[in-house]
C-alpha cells in the first residue's frame, strides 16, 4: 500500500487513530463544552492575482479568551492552505496529517497530488471525524484555498462538519463570526464598484482586514485588530508563485491608514 503513496494508511498500520474522541466515548465531555476551545472567523476571497485568505487570531473556550495569537490559516504545502474554524486540537492535527500526506505522496510517487486529490483527502478526514464532530468535541469546519497549477487559477472550497465539499466560486467564510461578513461579501460582490475577483492586491488585503474587524464587532469569539499589543489578523495570498504571508508591518500600516475609522 505504501507503494501507492497513502500516508494515512501507513499511519493506521502503525496503530495511529485519528479520532480518539468518538461520540460513544464523548458523552461525559458534553457537559464540559465550556472547556473546549473554539470560535473564529476565517475567510477566503478571489482577487486579481489569485486567492486572499485571512483569519482572526483569537481562541476561546466558553467565555474565556484562551489565546490571542493563534494562526488559523495553515499552509498544507506551497500551493494550498486550510483556514480552520472549530476545535483547534482536531484542526491542527488534520493539518499535520494532510501536510505529511501531501509530502509523502509527492516524494514517493514523484509527482504532486492533484488539486482534486488534496480536496478529497480533507473531505475523507472530515468524514472520519464526523462522530467527534457531532459530539461537539471535534467540530472542524474548514475553508480550503489553493492555486490549481493544472488549470492555472486560484480556487476556494468550504465544507460542512460531515465532510461535504462545496466550491465557493468567489469567496467562502467559516466560523462563529462568519454570518456577519457573509452578507457584506455578497453585497460588495454584487453591487460594489467592481466584482471582488477583480480587486487589486492592496484593496483585497484592506477588505480582509475590514471584514475581520466587522466580525469582531459582532462576535465575541473573534479577535479583531489590537494595536496596543501589535496583534493583526493573519493574511496570506496564494498566487501562481505559491503561498505568501503578508508581513505584519504592511498590515499595521494598512490598518492605520484604511481600517481604523477610515471616514
Amino acid at each position: 500500500m505504501g507503494r501507492q503513496g497513502d500516508f494515512i494508511h501507513m499511519l493506521r498500520e502503525q496503530g495511529y487513530a485519528f479520532d480518539p474522541l468518538r461520540s460513544d466515548q464523548a458523552q461525559s465531555v458534553l457537559s464540559h463544552q465550556d472547556m473546549i476551545t473554539k470560535g473564529t472567523t476565517v475567510l477566503a476571497c478571489k482577487y486579481q492575482g489569485g486567492v486572499m485568505v485571512a483569519g482572526d487570531r483569537r481562541a476561546t473556550a466558553g467565555t474565556s479568551v484562551m489565546y490571542d495569537r493563534t494562526d488559523k490559516v495553515l499552509e498544507l504545502d506551497r500551493f494550498c492552505v486550510m483556514a480552520i474554524a472549530g476545535v483547534p486540537a482536531t484542526a491542527f492535527e488534520m493539518a499535520r496529517v494532510l501536510e505529511h500526506s501531501f509530502k509523502y505522496y509527492r516524494r514517493s510517487q514523484l509527482q504532486d497530488l492533484s488539486f482534486e486529490g488534496k480536496l478529497r483527502a480533507l473531505a475523507k478526514l472530515l468524514k472520519e471525524n464526523a462522530p467527534a464532530a457531532l459530539a461537539g468535541t471535534g467540530t472542524v469546519v474548514p475553508v480550503f484555498a489553493g492555486f490549481d497549477q493544472e488549470q492555472q487559477e486560484g480556487k476556494i472550497f468550504f465544507y460542512d462538519i460531515l465532510g461535504a465539499e462545496f466550491e465557493g466560486v468567489d469567496y467562502a467564510v467559516s466560523g462563529s463570526g462568519s454570518p456577519t461578513i457573509r452578507g457584506i461579501l455578497h453585497y460588495l460582490h454584487r453591487w460594489g464598484d467592481r466584482p471582488l475577483y477583480s480587486l487589486p492586491e492592496e484593496e483585497a488585503i484592506v477588505l480582509m482586514l475590514r471584514l475581520l474587524s466587522s466580525a469582531a464587532e459582532f462576535d465575541a469569539a473573534t479577535g479583531g485588530i489590537n494595536f496596543e499589543s501589535n496583534i493583526f489578523p493573519i493574511v496570506k495570498r496564494i498566487t501562481e508563485q505559491g503561498v505568501e504571508t503578508i508581513a505584519s508591518e504592511q498590515l499595521k500600516q494598512l490598518c492605520a491608514s484604511q481600517v481604523v475609522r477610515h471616514v
Binding site: 499511519l11 506551497r78 509530502k103 509527492r106
Partner: protein, 274 residues
Amino acid sequence: MYEEPHRWVEAVGNRRQYLDDQFKQGSPIVALSYAEGILLLTFSRGTPKIYEVYDRIAMGGMGHPADLEKLRFQVLDMAHLEGFNRSPSDVTGARLLKYGLAPTVKQAFEEIFKAPFIVKILLAELGRTKERDQFICVDYDGTFEEVNTCAVLAGASSIQLKLLDDMKRRLEGGLPSLKAAADIALKTWAEGALLHQTVSSDVHLDDEKGEDLEQSISTKEFDEDEVLSHLRQTLTQHTLECCVLDRTVSGSSKYRSLSRDEVTELLPSAVHPA
C-alpha cells in the same frame, strides 16, 4: 556446503566480485555544498537517480532500479513516520542511514542464499548552517561513511577516493557559487565516467592486474579537453539530472529539481549543446 567458515568467507568474496561487476558501467553521483545549499548531479538514462527524501534530505543512488526503489520507500516511510510522530527536526540523514538503510543492506549482503541489494546510496542533508551540511554514503555491503562538504558514488572504491580527492582540492578556496559548483560536479562526473571506462569487465581490482590499475587510477591526470568532449557527448545521449537542497527556498521543503532552462544556464560554455 556453507557450514564451514571458510566456505562462507569464500561465498561473501564471490558476492563482492559479482557486485563490483554490476557497478562498472554505472553513472557516478556527485554531491557538494555550495554557497546557498547542496547540489546533487548525475546523468541518467530515463529512470531518475536523485530523489527527495525529506524536508532537508536528498538521496542519490547507483545500481539496480528495483532495489533502489525498494530502499527508497523504506527510507521515505521511516522519515515520514518519524517526522509525523516526533518532529521534522528529528528526521536526520544519519539516523535514517545508520538505523534503517545500512542494517537492511548489510543483512541482504550477508544472507548468501538470497540476492543482495545491488545499490550504493548517498544521502545529502542540508544543515541549519552551511557548516553542518552532511553527506553519508552506504556501500552494497552496508558499510557507511560520513563526510562534510562533498561526496561521490562511483563504480569502485578506488575511483570514488580519487574523485573525492580531486573534488576536495577544487573546493579548497571555500564554498563555490551554484554555477561554479555545477562546473566542479560536471567535471568530477565526467572524470568518474572516464575512469569507469578504463576498468574493463575482466579486471578485478583485488587481483594483481587490479593493483596496477588501482595505482594508475589514483595518479591519473585528466586532460581538460578530453573531459569536456566526454561531457558534450554524454549530453546528447543522456539526461542531466540536477537537484538542489536550497537554503533560500521559503517553506519547510528545501528540495528542488532544477528546470531545463536553469540547467542550460549552469552548463559551462564549452559544453553548451549546439
